[in-house]
Amino acid sequence: MTIAAEALAVAERLERSASLNAVLAWSRPALEAEALRVSRIGSDGPLAGMPVAIKDNIVTTDLPTTCASRILEGYRSPYDATVIERLRLAGGLVACKTNLDEFAMGSSTEHSAFGRVRHPLDPDRVPGGSSGGSAALVAAGVVPAALGSETGGSVRQPAAFCGVVGVKPSYGRVSRFGLVAFGSSLDCVSVFGRTVSDAARVLAAIAGHDPRDATSRPAPPVQVPVPRADLRGLTFGLPTEYFPPDLDPGVRAGVDRAVALVQALGGTVRPVSLPHTRYAVPTYYVLAPAEAAANLARYDGVRYGVRRGAGLDLRSVYRATRGQGFGREVQRRILVGTYVLSAGYYDAYYAKAQAARVRITADFEAAFLTGVDALLTPTTPTPAFRAGAKMADPVQMYLADIFVSAVSLAGLPALSLPAGRSEGLPIGLQIIAPSFEEDRMLSIAATLEPHLSATAEVR
């Protein structure tokens, strides 16, 4: 198929999937212009016309970037993110901008200022979040791959809910230049794919050091994995803390089945302990809001975005703009972040959370030092929940990230692989690897993938 024909086919699929509310911006003229541009610069690149949906917190010059917030409604960036430039150079096609929890803060994509995203298999359920729009579009077959972002599980968790592959690279593997900052010590551009290979191809295209992001690191390129004949010679750790008694029985059955497959393929499996796991969510919900409170100070109605409070003085303009422009969850996080950084509370919360982060990271390092090549866990404690089920209690929503936030704090690569369904809803198996060992992680996933029958009922 030519790139122009691919663009036309994407446009038709985007129109048919409108009821998901997964897309915030796309247009036929923009897609045609994109196809023309890509056919000029990268038609024979490794992505060769692959349409890729882009989470709307990654800046693009051709389409608006809103972060699903009223405060950036209609905003168009004056530059493209590094990952957008690299995607096009590889022949990828920017298909659309996808819906998200406002500023990537949420676990259900219900916190978007532009309405919630529907789960492609059950419109009454959530697709997970915060990259729910990207996950839903890949699951619905609109695009084979999409970019999301992770601060604390925002790609792996929706990948598990929607039954697609979600890859979070190591912190520093992919440039953050042009990813709207939320928690800068945690943020990672991450990838969804219909298959491990699709996700790996996109990751390989966007990864690499970028002088415009000093936290990006030089490293050998990511390889698109070739499935191994078996898993002989590899040792897998099962962290006991990730299998609590109240784990959803369907999720447990899905992960048990995957672990049995790992053993059948010759892999060695043994229990390990990550003793500080229970501190991961509280640590995350101190550090991420603290960084967010600082990063979101830039939205003040002066240089870009919406301005409110006409006729008032400067401070009143700041407060009116931010009070009216930010939604409830973003306001809560800014307030929590401001509180834990304020005089008298810094040592009790922020300093403690920094110390906890060190211990959580050390737990993973110790487990890998015992000869474990990768860790296997459930990605989420339950399958996709019903819309509205967790909106009244922020802490209940935060606990949806209980198995994904520790990896983000430690900066490790991790992947969610579809591992079957329970009562029709997808289950995710999480594979966690040591820092910058994406190739090992992707190769394990590619080996398991053809055997896992992702749509089979697991109990």
Binding site: R217, R332, T338, V340
Partner: protein, 97 residues
């Protein structure tokens, strides 16, 4: 830890956020719930200094500012822009207030 509506007003002022009077009680309750949940960190013994980050592998660029080429000018995206300046309202102190 209790967080009163008055505490919330103080925090909101630090955060430069207008909070509607009608939302104060609800938000104070939510904040109290979150802060008491993350408060379980206080049971961790202190000691370990926070990680300083990994100096190995961090590649610093030359200490020079090169402007990023922009696709469109600030006048296109700023709320108010004139003669190369972003326009802002006056500070209250400048009116003697």
């Amino acid at each position: 830890m209790t967080i009163s509506p008055d505490d919330l007003v103080r925090i909101a002022r630090l955060a430069e956020l207008d909070i509607a009077e009608a939302d104060l009680r609800r938000l104070a309750g939510e904040l109290e719930g979150i802060v008491s949940y993350v408060g379980q960190l206080t049971s961790l013994a202190s000691a370990d200094p926070p990680a300083a980050g990994d100096p190995v592998g961090v590649v610093l660029r030359e200490d020079r500012v090169d402007p990023i080429p922009l696709d469109r000018a600030p006048a296109d995206f700023a709320p108010e822009f004139q003669d190369r300046f972003f326009l802002v309202p006056r500070l209250p102190a400048m009116d003697g207030g």
